[in-house]
Symmetry: C2
Subunit: 305 residues, 2 copies
Protein backbone atom coordinates (compact mmCIF):
# COMPACT_ATOMS: atom_id res chain seq x y z
CA UNK A 1 0.00 0.00 0.00
CA UNK A 2 1.39 3.42 -0.90
CA UNK A 3 1.65 5.79 2.07
CA UNK A 4 -1.15 8.31 2.59
CA UNK A 5 -0.61 12.03 3.04
CA UNK A 6 -2.52 12.78 6.27
CA UNK A 7 -2.99 16.42 5.24
CA UNK A 8 -5.16 15.37 2.26
CA UNK A 9 -7.40 12.91 4.12
CA UNK A 10 -11.13 13.66 4.06
CA UNK A 11 -13.22 14.21 7.17
CA UNK A 12 -14.36 10.56 7.08
CA UNK A 13 -10.81 9.27 6.52
CA UNK A 14 -9.46 11.32 9.44
CA UNK A 15 -12.20 9.84 11.64
CA UNK A 16 -11.23 6.32 10.52
CA UNK A 17 -7.53 7.14 11.07
CA UNK A 18 -8.18 8.41 14.61
CA UNK A 19 -10.38 5.41 15.43
CA UNK A 20 -7.73 2.97 14.20
CA UNK A 21 -5.30 3.43 17.12
CA UNK A 22 -5.43 3.73 20.93
CA UNK A 23 -1.74 4.32 21.60
CA UNK A 24 0.70 6.79 20.08
CA UNK A 25 4.44 6.11 20.33
CA UNK A 26 6.50 9.18 19.46
CA UNK A 27 10.14 9.54 18.62
CA UNK A 28 11.56 12.79 20.12
CA UNK A 29 14.44 14.19 18.00
CA UNK A 30 13.09 15.44 14.68
CA UNK A 31 9.48 14.86 15.77
CA UNK A 32 9.00 16.84 19.02
CA UNK A 33 12.12 19.01 18.82
CA UNK A 34 15.22 19.62 16.75
CA UNK A 35 18.36 20.07 18.87
CA UNK A 36 15.92 20.92 21.69
CA UNK A 37 14.26 23.70 19.62
CA UNK A 38 10.50 22.98 19.81
CA UNK A 39 8.74 21.99 16.59
CA UNK A 40 5.73 24.27 16.09
CA UNK A 41 2.35 22.77 16.96
CA UNK A 42 3.59 19.55 18.55
CA UNK A 43 2.46 20.61 22.01
CA UNK A 44 -1.06 21.20 20.65
CA UNK A 45 -1.02 17.91 18.71
CA UNK A 46 -0.10 15.96 21.84
CA UNK A 47 -2.83 17.72 23.82
CA UNK A 48 -5.42 17.00 21.09
CA UNK A 49 -4.46 13.32 20.98
CA UNK A 50 -4.86 13.12 24.76
CA UNK A 51 -8.27 14.82 24.43
CA UNK A 52 -9.24 12.18 21.85
CA UNK A 53 -8.48 9.56 24.53
CA UNK A 54 -5.18 8.32 23.13
CA UNK A 55 -2.38 7.03 25.31
CA UNK A 56 0.89 8.76 24.43
CA UNK A 57 4.40 7.44 25.09
CA UNK A 58 7.82 8.53 23.87
CA UNK A 59 10.46 6.18 22.48
CA UNK A 60 13.90 7.71 21.91
CA UNK A 61 17.45 6.48 21.32
CA UNK A 62 18.74 9.81 22.61
CA UNK A 63 20.82 9.34 25.74
CA UNK A 64 22.26 12.84 25.92
CA UNK A 65 19.77 13.90 28.58
CA UNK A 66 19.22 10.60 30.39
CA UNK A 67 15.74 9.17 30.95
CA UNK A 68 14.95 11.78 33.60
CA UNK A 69 16.26 14.63 31.46
CA UNK A 70 14.12 13.52 28.50
CA UNK A 71 11.10 13.33 30.79
CA UNK A 72 11.74 16.84 32.15
CA UNK A 73 12.13 18.25 28.62
CA UNK A 74 8.98 16.51 27.38
CA UNK A 75 6.91 17.89 30.28
CA UNK A 76 6.94 21.26 28.50
CA UNK A 77 5.13 19.63 25.57
CA UNK A 78 2.90 17.21 27.42
CA UNK A 79 1.76 18.11 30.93
CA UNK A 80 0.15 14.70 31.50
CA UNK A 81 3.40 12.82 30.90
CA UNK A 82 4.37 10.22 33.52
CA UNK A 83 8.00 9.08 34.04
CA UNK A 84 7.07 5.61 32.76
CA UNK A 85 5.82 7.13 29.49
CA UNK A 86 9.43 7.70 28.38
CA UNK A 87 11.28 4.70 26.94
CA UNK A 88 15.04 4.88 26.38
CA UNK A 89 17.69 2.23 25.60
CA UNK A 90 19.12 2.72 29.13
CA UNK A 91 15.77 1.80 30.64
CA UNK A 92 15.35 -1.23 28.37
CA UNK A 93 18.85 -2.49 29.15
CA UNK A 94 18.34 -1.95 32.90
CA UNK A 95 15.08 -3.92 32.79
CA UNK A 96 16.83 -6.73 30.89
CA UNK A 97 19.74 -6.91 33.36
CA UNK A 98 17.43 -6.83 36.40
CA UNK A 99 15.45 -9.80 35.11
CA UNK A 100 18.34 -12.14 35.86
CA UNK A 101 19.79 -10.19 38.80
CA UNK A 102 22.92 -9.10 36.97
CA UNK A 103 25.31 -7.99 39.70
CA UNK A 104 28.73 -7.46 38.14
CA UNK A 105 30.22 -4.13 37.15
CA UNK A 106 29.22 -2.45 33.89
CA UNK A 107 31.67 -0.62 31.61
CA UNK A 108 29.72 2.07 29.76
CA UNK A 109 30.62 4.00 26.62
CA UNK A 110 27.95 6.66 26.90
CA UNK A 111 26.91 10.00 28.31
CA UNK A 112 27.19 10.85 31.99
CA UNK A 113 23.36 11.00 32.07
CA UNK A 114 23.17 7.43 30.82
CA UNK A 115 25.67 6.36 33.48
CA UNK A 116 23.47 8.02 36.11
CA UNK A 117 20.47 6.00 34.85
CA UNK A 118 22.40 2.81 35.60
CA UNK A 119 23.67 4.03 38.95
CA UNK A 120 20.18 5.17 39.99
CA UNK A 121 18.97 1.67 39.15
CA UNK A 122 21.51 0.24 41.61
CA UNK A 123 24.20 -0.98 39.23
CA UNK A 124 27.90 -0.55 39.88
CA UNK A 125 29.89 1.01 37.06
CA UNK A 126 33.45 0.03 36.23
CA UNK A 127 35.85 2.91 36.70
CA UNK A 128 37.27 4.46 33.55
CA UNK A 129 41.05 4.57 33.70
CA UNK A 130 42.56 8.01 33.66
CA UNK A 131 43.02 9.12 30.05
CA UNK A 132 46.71 9.19 29.18
CA UNK A 133 48.42 11.22 26.53
CA UNK A 134 51.86 9.58 26.33
CA UNK A 135 52.55 7.35 23.30
CA UNK A 136 54.55 4.79 25.26
CA UNK A 137 53.96 1.04 25.29
CA UNK A 138 53.77 1.26 29.10
CA UNK A 139 50.56 3.27 28.83
CA UNK A 140 49.09 0.67 26.51
CA UNK A 141 50.14 -2.23 28.77
CA UNK A 142 48.19 -0.75 31.67
CA UNK A 143 45.03 -0.65 29.56
CA UNK A 144 45.46 -4.28 28.47
CA UNK A 145 44.96 -5.72 31.96
CA UNK A 146 41.57 -7.40 32.34
CA UNK A 147 39.28 -6.74 35.32
CA UNK A 148 37.18 -9.76 36.23
CA UNK A 149 34.68 -7.67 38.19
CA UNK A 150 33.39 -6.28 34.88
CA UNK A 151 30.53 -8.40 33.49
CA UNK A 152 29.01 -6.20 30.80
CA UNK A 153 30.08 -3.64 28.20
CA UNK A 154 27.36 -1.16 27.18
CA UNK A 155 28.02 0.95 24.06
CA UNK A 156 25.92 3.97 23.27
CA UNK A 157 27.02 7.36 21.93
CA UNK A 158 30.03 8.63 23.87
CA UNK A 159 31.12 12.12 22.92
CA UNK A 160 34.32 11.38 24.84
CA UNK A 161 34.99 8.06 23.20
CA UNK A 162 38.70 7.31 23.02
CA UNK A 163 40.81 4.60 21.52
CA UNK A 164 41.99 3.63 25.00
CA UNK A 165 38.37 3.15 26.14
CA UNK A 166 37.83 0.88 23.12
CA UNK A 167 40.91 -1.10 24.06
CA UNK A 168 39.40 -1.60 27.54
CA UNK A 169 36.19 -2.92 25.90
CA UNK A 170 38.14 -5.28 23.63
CA UNK A 171 40.00 -6.65 26.67
CA UNK A 172 36.80 -7.27 28.67
CA UNK A 173 34.95 -8.79 25.70
CA UNK A 174 37.58 -11.52 25.31
CA UNK A 175 35.71 -13.28 28.14
CA UNK A 176 32.70 -14.89 26.43
CA UNK A 177 30.49 -14.40 29.50
CA UNK A 178 30.89 -10.62 29.39
CA UNK A 179 27.68 -9.17 27.91
CA UNK A 180 28.09 -6.96 24.84
CA UNK A 181 25.13 -4.56 24.74
CA UNK A 182 24.32 -1.68 22.37
CA UNK A 183 22.01 1.27 22.88
CA UNK A 184 21.61 3.65 19.95
CA UNK A 185 23.35 2.37 16.81
CA UNK A 186 23.30 5.39 14.46
CA UNK A 187 25.85 5.60 11.66
CA UNK A 188 25.59 9.37 11.41
CA UNK A 189 24.53 12.07 13.83
CA UNK A 190 23.30 15.24 12.16
CA UNK A 191 24.05 18.72 13.46
CA UNK A 192 21.64 20.88 11.51
CA UNK A 193 21.00 19.82 7.93
CA UNK A 194 24.52 19.78 6.61
CA UNK A 195 27.08 18.46 9.08
CA UNK A 196 27.09 14.71 9.76
CA UNK A 197 29.23 13.44 12.63
CA UNK A 198 30.25 9.83 13.25
CA UNK A 199 27.61 8.02 15.32
CA UNK A 200 28.14 5.10 17.72
CA UNK A 201 27.88 2.50 14.92
CA UNK A 202 31.51 2.98 13.91
CA UNK A 203 33.03 1.91 17.20
CA UNK A 204 30.34 -0.70 17.91
CA UNK A 205 31.10 -2.37 14.56
CA UNK A 206 34.86 -2.15 15.19
CA UNK A 207 34.49 -3.83 18.59
CA UNK A 208 32.29 -6.57 17.10
CA UNK A 209 34.88 -7.15 14.38
CA UNK A 210 37.99 -7.30 16.54
CA UNK A 211 36.37 -9.38 19.28
CA UNK A 212 34.35 -11.67 16.98
CA UNK A 213 31.37 -11.04 19.29
CA UNK A 214 27.76 -10.41 18.24
CA UNK A 215 26.28 -7.64 20.37
CA UNK A 216 22.69 -7.42 21.62
CA UNK A 217 21.01 -4.14 20.65
CA UNK A 218 18.36 -2.47 22.80
CA UNK A 219 17.58 0.74 20.92
CA UNK A 220 15.40 1.26 17.85
CA UNK A 221 15.04 -0.79 15.65
CA UNK A 222 16.01 -3.83 17.76
CA UNK A 223 13.64 -6.72 18.66
CA UNK A 224 14.67 -6.39 22.33
CA UNK A 225 13.04 -2.96 22.40
CA UNK A 226 9.96 -4.43 20.73
CA UNK A 227 9.63 -7.02 23.51
CA UNK A 228 10.13 -4.39 26.17
CA UNK A 229 7.47 -2.08 24.74
CA UNK A 230 4.96 -4.87 24.29
CA UNK A 231 5.33 -5.95 27.89
CA UNK A 232 5.79 -2.54 29.56
CA UNK A 233 2.80 -0.98 27.78
CA UNK A 234 0.77 -4.21 27.82
CA UNK A 235 0.09 -4.02 24.08
CA UNK A 236 -2.42 -6.67 23.01
CA UNK A 237 -3.09 -5.55 19.46
CA UNK A 238 -0.05 -3.90 17.84
CA UNK A 239 -2.10 -2.73 14.86
CA UNK A 240 -3.83 -0.30 17.23
CA UNK A 241 -0.54 1.50 17.92
CA UNK A 242 0.65 4.46 15.81
CA UNK A 243 4.42 4.96 15.71
CA UNK A 244 5.50 8.49 14.76
CA UNK A 245 9.07 9.06 13.62
CA UNK A 246 11.37 11.05 11.35
CA UNK A 247 13.77 8.25 10.37
CA UNK A 248 12.91 5.57 7.85
CA UNK A 249 15.73 3.20 8.84
CA UNK A 250 15.16 3.53 12.55
CA UNK A 251 11.53 4.51 13.25
CA UNK A 252 9.52 3.20 10.31
CA UNK A 253 11.46 -0.06 10.04
CA UNK A 254 11.03 -0.57 13.78
CA UNK A 255 7.32 0.30 13.76
CA UNK A 256 6.64 -2.05 10.84
CA UNK A 257 8.59 -4.88 12.47
CA UNK A 258 6.46 -4.46 15.59
CA UNK A 259 3.23 -4.59 13.55
CA UNK A 260 2.40 -0.97 14.46
CA UNK A 261 0.90 1.58 12.09
CA UNK A 262 3.52 4.16 11.13
CA UNK A 263 3.54 7.89 10.47
CA UNK A 264 6.65 9.45 8.90
CA UNK A 265 7.20 13.17 9.43
CA UNK A 266 9.61 15.42 7.48
CA UNK A 267 10.68 17.71 10.31
CA UNK A 268 13.86 15.72 10.96
CA UNK A 269 15.99 13.24 9.00
CA UNK A 270 13.66 12.10 6.18
CA UNK A 271 12.54 14.25 3.27
CA UNK A 272 9.44 13.84 1.09
CA UNK A 273 11.70 12.80 -1.81
CA UNK A 274 13.00 9.86 0.28
CA UNK A 275 9.58 8.17 -0.04
CA UNK A 276 10.30 7.43 -3.71
CA UNK A 277 13.59 5.76 -2.85
CA UNK A 278 12.07 3.18 -0.50
CA UNK A 279 12.57 -0.32 -1.90
CA UNK A 280 10.75 -2.59 0.57
CA UNK A 281 7.48 -2.71 2.42
CA UNK A 282 9.10 -2.73 5.87
CA UNK A 283 10.44 0.78 5.22
CA UNK A 284 7.19 2.15 3.78
CA UNK A 285 5.17 4.19 6.28
CA UNK A 286 1.37 3.93 6.35
CA UNK A 287 1.06 7.72 6.61
CA UNK A 288 3.20 10.78 6.13
CA UNK A 289 2.96 14.43 7.08
CA UNK A 290 5.24 17.47 6.92
CA UNK A 291 5.27 17.85 10.67
CA UNK A 292 3.67 16.12 13.65
CA UNK A 293 2.74 19.68 14.72
CA UNK A 294 0.38 19.93 11.72
CA UNK A 295 -1.78 17.03 12.97
CA UNK A 296 -3.54 19.19 15.57
CA UNK A 297 -4.99 21.59 12.98
CA UNK A 298 -5.93 18.75 10.62
CA UNK A 299 -7.86 16.94 13.35
CA UNK A 300 -9.52 20.11 14.62
CA UNK A 301 -10.57 21.38 11.20
CA UNK A 302 -11.93 18.01 10.00
CA UNK A 303 -13.68 17.12 13.26
CA UNK A 304 -14.78 20.70 13.99
CA UNK A 305 -13.37 20.43 17.51
Amino acid sequence: MPPKDVSTLSRAAIKLFLNSFDTVLCDCDGVVWNLLNPIVGVKETLQTLRECGKKVHFVTNNSALGTKGIHDSLLEYDRQLQPTDVITPAQTIIKYLKEFNFNKEIYILGTSSMKEDFQDAGFKLAKTKQQQTADSMEVLQEFLVDDESVGAVVCDYDIHLSNLKMIRCAVFLRRPDVLFILGATDKKLFVGNKLALPGPHFYQAALAEVTGRTPMAFGKPSPNLHNYITRALNIKDPSRVLFVGDSIASDIRFGSACGFQTLLVFSGLAKLSDLKKIKNEQDTPNYYLDSFGDLCEIIKSRLEM
Copy 2:
Protein backbone atom coordinates in the same frame (compact mmCIF):
# COMPACT_ATOMS: atom_id res chain seq x y z
CA MET B 1 51.51 -21.13 -9.82
CA PRO B 2 51.42 -22.66 -6.34
CA PRO B 3 53.85 -21.04 -3.90
CA LYS B 4 57.21 -22.70 -3.34
CA ASP B 5 58.59 -23.59 0.08
CA VAL B 6 62.06 -21.99 0.03
CA SER B 7 63.34 -24.46 2.63
CA THR B 8 62.84 -27.36 0.20
CA LEU B 9 64.50 -25.75 -2.83
CA SER B 10 67.48 -27.58 -4.32
CA ARG B 11 70.93 -26.04 -4.66
CA ALA B 12 70.21 -25.15 -8.30
CA ALA B 13 66.81 -23.70 -7.45
CA ILE B 14 68.26 -21.54 -4.66
CA LYS B 15 70.83 -20.21 -7.13
CA LEU B 16 68.06 -19.39 -9.61
CA PHE B 17 66.03 -17.77 -6.81
CA LEU B 18 68.96 -15.61 -5.69
CA ASN B 19 69.76 -14.63 -9.27
CA SER B 20 66.15 -13.64 -9.95
CA PHE B 21 66.17 -10.42 -7.86
CA ASP B 22 68.49 -7.46 -7.22
CA THR B 23 66.41 -5.66 -4.60
CA VAL B 24 64.80 -6.92 -1.40
CA LEU B 25 61.95 -4.95 0.16
CA CYS B 26 61.22 -6.06 3.73
CA ASP B 27 58.28 -5.42 5.96
CA CYS B 28 59.39 -4.89 9.59
CA ASP B 29 56.71 -6.05 12.08
CA GLY B 30 56.38 -9.83 11.96
CA VAL B 31 59.39 -10.13 9.60
CA VAL B 32 62.32 -8.42 11.35
CA TRP B 33 60.85 -8.19 14.84
CA ASN B 34 57.70 -8.90 16.82
CA LEU B 35 56.75 -6.08 19.18
CA LEU B 36 60.42 -5.08 18.89
CA ASN B 37 61.64 -8.54 20.00
CA PRO B 38 64.20 -9.61 17.35
CA ILE B 39 63.31 -12.58 15.14
CA VAL B 40 66.16 -15.10 15.28
CA GLY B 41 68.49 -15.12 12.27
CA VAL B 42 67.12 -12.04 10.51
CA LYS B 43 70.29 -10.06 11.17
CA GLU B 44 72.34 -12.83 9.53
CA THR B 45 69.90 -13.12 6.61
CA LEU B 46 70.15 -9.39 5.91
CA GLN B 47 73.94 -9.55 6.06
CA THR B 48 74.03 -12.54 3.70
CA LEU B 49 71.75 -10.79 1.21
CA ARG B 50 74.03 -7.75 1.27
CA GLU B 51 77.02 -10.06 0.72
CA CYS B 52 75.22 -11.55 -2.28
CA GLY B 53 75.07 -7.99 -3.69
CA LYS B 54 71.39 -7.35 -3.04
CA LYS B 55 70.01 -3.90 -2.28
CA VAL B 56 67.86 -4.03 0.85
CA HIS B 57 65.13 -1.55 1.81
CA PHE B 58 62.43 -1.62 4.46
CA VAL B 59 58.78 -0.78 3.84
CA THR B 60 56.60 -0.48 6.93
CA ASN B 61 53.19 0.94 7.82
CA ASN B 62 54.30 1.20 11.44
CA SER B 63 54.30 4.81 12.58
CA ALA B 64 54.79 4.17 16.29
CA LEU B 65 58.50 4.95 16.09
CA GLY B 66 58.57 7.53 13.31
CA THR B 67 60.80 7.16 10.25
CA LYS B 68 63.92 8.00 12.29
CA GLY B 69 62.96 5.62 15.10
CA ILE B 70 62.44 2.77 12.62
CA HIS B 71 65.81 3.52 11.06
CA ASP B 72 67.54 3.50 14.47
CA SER B 73 65.90 0.19 15.42
CA LEU B 74 66.80 -1.40 12.08
CA LEU B 75 70.46 -0.37 12.41
CA GLU B 76 70.85 -3.16 14.98
CA TYR B 77 69.89 -5.66 12.28
CA ASP B 78 71.52 -4.07 9.28
CA ARG B 79 74.66 -1.97 9.81
CA GLN B 80 74.72 -0.82 6.18
CA LEU B 81 71.27 0.73 6.38
CA GLN B 82 70.93 4.30 5.09
CA PRO B 83 68.12 6.64 6.24
CA THR B 84 66.65 6.58 2.73
CA ASP B 85 66.40 2.77 2.88
CA VAL B 86 63.39 3.07 5.22
CA ILE B 87 60.03 3.80 3.61
CA THR B 88 57.05 4.78 5.79
CA PRO B 89 53.62 6.25 4.98
CA ALA B 90 54.72 9.53 6.60
CA GLN B 91 57.60 9.80 4.17
CA THR B 92 55.43 8.94 1.18
CA ILE B 93 52.80 11.50 2.16
CA ILE B 94 55.46 14.17 2.79
CA LYS B 95 56.96 13.54 -0.67
CA TYR B 96 53.49 13.79 -2.23
CA LEU B 97 52.68 17.07 -0.47
CA LYS B 98 56.06 18.61 -1.31
CA GLU B 99 55.58 17.93 -5.00
CA PHE B 100 52.93 20.63 -5.24
CA ASN B 101 54.30 22.87 -2.47
CA PHE B 102 51.46 22.21 -0.07
CA ASN B 103 51.68 25.00 2.50
CA LYS B 104 48.54 24.87 4.62
CA GLU B 105 48.28 23.34 8.09
CA ILE B 106 47.88 19.58 8.51
CA TYR B 107 45.60 17.98 11.09
CA ILE B 108 47.08 14.59 12.01
CA LEU B 109 45.49 11.61 13.71
CA GLY B 110 48.66 9.71 14.47
CA THR B 111 51.55 9.14 16.81
CA SER B 112 53.73 11.96 18.11
CA SER B 113 56.61 10.41 16.12
CA MET B 114 54.62 10.72 12.93
CA LYS B 115 53.83 14.33 13.75
CA GLU B 116 57.55 14.95 14.22
CA ASP B 117 58.22 13.50 10.75
CA PHE B 118 55.93 16.17 9.27
CA GLN B 119 57.35 18.97 11.40
CA ASP B 120 60.92 17.96 10.54
CA ALA B 121 59.90 18.15 6.88
CA GLY B 122 58.84 21.77 7.41
CA PHE B 123 55.07 21.36 7.59
CA LYS B 124 52.92 23.25 10.07
CA LEU B 125 50.55 21.10 12.12
CA ALA B 126 47.11 22.27 13.19
CA LYS B 127 46.78 22.49 16.94
CA THR B 128 44.65 19.84 18.61
CA LYS B 129 42.04 21.45 20.81
CA GLN B 130 42.31 20.68 24.48
CA GLN B 131 40.43 17.46 25.21
CA GLN B 132 37.28 18.21 27.21
CA THR B 133 35.40 15.91 29.50
CA ALA B 134 32.12 17.79 30.02
CA ASP B 135 29.05 16.46 28.20
CA SER B 136 27.64 19.88 27.43
CA MET B 137 26.56 21.16 24.02
CA GLU B 138 28.89 24.13 24.57
CA VAL B 139 31.91 21.80 24.41
CA LEU B 140 30.63 20.32 21.17
CA GLN B 141 29.94 23.77 19.65
CA GLU B 142 33.55 24.78 20.15
CA PHE B 143 34.73 21.72 18.23
CA LEU B 144 32.35 22.42 15.34
CA VAL B 145 34.05 25.67 14.30
CA ASP B 146 36.04 25.26 11.08
CA ASP B 147 39.62 26.54 10.74
CA GLU B 148 40.43 27.63 7.20
CA SER B 149 44.18 27.40 7.76
CA VAL B 150 43.86 23.60 7.78
CA GLY B 151 44.29 22.15 4.28
CA ALA B 152 44.80 18.43 4.94
CA VAL B 153 43.64 15.71 7.31
CA VAL B 154 46.07 12.78 7.71
CA CYS B 155 44.72 9.65 9.44
CA ASP B 156 47.04 6.95 10.69
CA TYR B 157 46.89 4.95 13.92
CA ASP B 158 46.28 7.27 16.86
CA ILE B 159 46.39 5.56 20.24
CA HIS B 160 44.81 8.72 21.63
CA LEU B 161 42.08 8.96 19.05
CA SER B 162 38.97 10.60 20.46
CA ASN B 163 35.51 11.29 19.21
CA LEU B 164 36.17 15.03 19.51
CA LYS B 165 39.24 14.69 17.24
CA MET B 166 37.05 12.87 14.71
CA ILE B 167 34.52 15.69 14.89
CA ARG B 168 37.34 18.14 14.07
CA CYS B 169 38.23 16.01 11.02
CA ALA B 170 34.59 15.86 9.87
CA VAL B 171 34.35 19.65 10.15
CA PHE B 172 37.54 20.25 8.10
CA LEU B 173 36.61 17.66 5.46
CA ARG B 174 33.38 19.49 4.63
CA ARG B 175 35.59 21.74 2.50
CA PRO B 176 36.18 19.75 -0.71
CA ASP B 177 39.68 21.20 -1.16
CA VAL B 178 40.88 19.78 2.16
CA LEU B 179 42.98 16.68 1.39
CA PHE B 180 41.88 13.45 3.07
CA ILE B 181 44.95 11.22 3.39
CA LEU B 182 45.41 7.80 5.04
CA GLY B 183 48.59 6.11 6.26
CA ALA B 184 48.22 2.59 7.63
CA THR B 185 44.69 1.22 7.16
CA ASP B 186 44.66 -1.95 9.33
CA LYS B 187 41.34 -3.30 10.57
CA LYS B 188 42.93 -5.09 13.51
CA LEU B 189 46.14 -4.60 15.43
CA PHE B 190 47.41 -7.71 17.16
CA VAL B 191 48.99 -7.71 20.60
CA GLY B 192 50.55 -11.14 20.81
CA ASN B 193 48.60 -13.92 19.13
CA LYS B 194 45.28 -13.57 20.87
CA LEU B 195 44.25 -10.00 21.52
CA ALA B 196 43.08 -7.95 18.53
CA LEU B 197 42.62 -4.22 19.02
CA PRO B 198 40.74 -1.87 16.68
CA GLY B 199 43.06 -0.51 13.99
CA PRO B 200 42.82 2.83 12.17
CA HIS B 201 40.41 1.45 9.54
CA PHE B 202 37.41 1.90 11.81
CA TYR B 203 37.68 5.66 12.16
CA GLN B 204 38.97 6.17 8.63
CA ALA B 205 35.88 4.38 7.26
CA ALA B 206 33.59 6.33 9.60
CA LEU B 207 35.06 9.65 8.42
CA ALA B 208 34.72 8.61 4.77
CA GLU B 209 31.09 7.64 5.40
CA VAL B 210 29.96 10.76 7.25
CA THR B 211 31.80 13.16 4.97
CA GLY B 212 31.07 11.36 1.69
CA ARG B 213 34.77 11.80 0.86
CA THR B 214 37.07 9.22 -0.75
CA PRO B 215 40.45 9.29 0.96
CA MET B 216 43.85 8.77 -0.68
CA ALA B 217 45.87 6.00 0.97
CA PHE B 218 49.66 6.06 1.14
CA GLY B 219 50.50 2.91 3.12
CA LYS B 220 50.62 -0.71 1.97
CA PRO B 221 48.83 -1.85 -0.18
CA SER B 222 48.04 1.49 -1.90
CA PRO B 223 49.09 2.40 -5.48
CA ASN B 224 50.49 5.72 -4.18
CA LEU B 225 53.12 3.78 -2.26
CA HIS B 226 53.84 1.75 -5.40
CA ASN B 227 54.53 4.94 -7.36
CA TYR B 228 56.70 6.30 -4.58
CA ILE B 229 58.81 3.13 -4.35
CA THR B 230 59.24 2.86 -8.10
CA ARG B 231 60.52 6.42 -8.33
CA ALA B 232 62.48 6.62 -5.06
CA LEU B 233 64.32 3.34 -5.68
CA ASN B 234 64.49 3.85 -9.45
CA ILE B 235 63.01 0.41 -10.13
CA LYS B 236 63.15 -0.43 -13.85
CA ASP B 237 62.14 -4.09 -13.74
CA PRO B 238 59.73 -4.85 -10.88
CA SER B 239 60.07 -8.60 -11.44
CA ARG B 240 63.64 -8.29 -10.11
CA VAL B 241 62.35 -7.11 -6.69
CA LEU B 242 61.57 -9.55 -3.86
CA PHE B 243 58.96 -8.32 -1.37
CA VAL B 244 59.12 -10.06 2.02
CA GLY B 245 56.11 -9.79 4.33
CA ASP B 246 54.02 -11.54 6.99
CA SER B 247 50.59 -10.28 5.89
CA ILE B 248 48.72 -11.65 2.90
CA ALA B 249 46.24 -8.77 2.65
CA SER B 250 48.82 -6.06 3.06
CA ASP B 251 52.26 -7.33 1.94
CA ILE B 252 51.57 -10.05 -0.64
CA ARG B 253 48.68 -8.20 -2.25
CA PHE B 254 50.84 -5.09 -2.46
CA GLY B 255 53.87 -6.95 -3.80
CA SER B 256 51.80 -8.70 -6.48
CA ALA B 257 50.11 -5.45 -7.51
CA CYS B 258 53.55 -3.88 -7.99
CA GLY B 259 54.73 -6.81 -10.13
CA PHE B 260 57.32 -7.83 -7.51
CA GLN B 261 58.15 -11.39 -6.54
CA THR B 262 56.79 -12.15 -3.09
CA LEU B 263 57.95 -14.17 -0.09
CA LEU B 264 55.46 -14.83 2.73
CA VAL B 265 56.87 -15.63 6.17
CA PHE B 266 54.97 -17.17 9.11
CA SER B 267 56.68 -15.31 11.94
CA GLY B 268 53.90 -12.72 12.17
CA LEU B 269 50.26 -12.49 11.07
CA ALA B 270 49.93 -15.29 8.50
CA LYS B 271 50.05 -19.01 9.28
CA LEU B 272 50.94 -21.89 6.93
CA SER B 273 47.28 -22.98 6.98
CA ASP B 274 46.28 -19.58 5.55
CA LEU B 275 47.89 -20.54 2.22
CA LYS B 276 45.05 -23.00 1.57
CA LYS B 277 42.43 -20.31 2.13
CA ILE B 278 43.78 -17.96 -0.55
CA LYS B 279 41.22 -17.53 -3.31
CA ASN B 280 42.96 -15.34 -5.89
CA GLU B 281 46.30 -15.06 -7.60
CA GLN B 282 46.99 -11.55 -6.28
CA ASP B 283 47.12 -12.94 -2.72
CA THR B 284 49.26 -15.97 -3.59
CA PRO B 285 52.94 -15.51 -2.73
CA ASN B 286 55.64 -16.87 -5.07
CA TYR B 287 57.56 -18.26 -2.09
CA TYR B 288 56.98 -19.02 1.57
CA LEU B 289 59.19 -19.76 4.54
CA ASP B 290 58.70 -20.18 8.31
CA SER B 291 60.88 -17.22 9.10
CA PHE B 292 62.98 -14.72 7.15
CA GLY B 293 65.71 -15.60 9.66
CA ASP B 294 65.88 -19.12 8.18
CA LEU B 295 66.95 -17.82 4.77
CA CYS B 296 70.54 -17.22 5.87
CA GLU B 297 71.18 -20.90 6.70
CA ILE B 298 69.39 -22.09 3.56
CA ILE B 299 71.54 -19.89 1.33
CA LYS B 300 74.77 -20.76 3.16
CA SER B 301 74.17 -24.51 3.21
CA ARG B 302 73.14 -24.70 -0.47
CA LEU B 303 75.82 -22.37 -1.79
CA GLU B 304 78.49 -23.61 0.63
CA MET B 305 79.28 -20.04 1.64
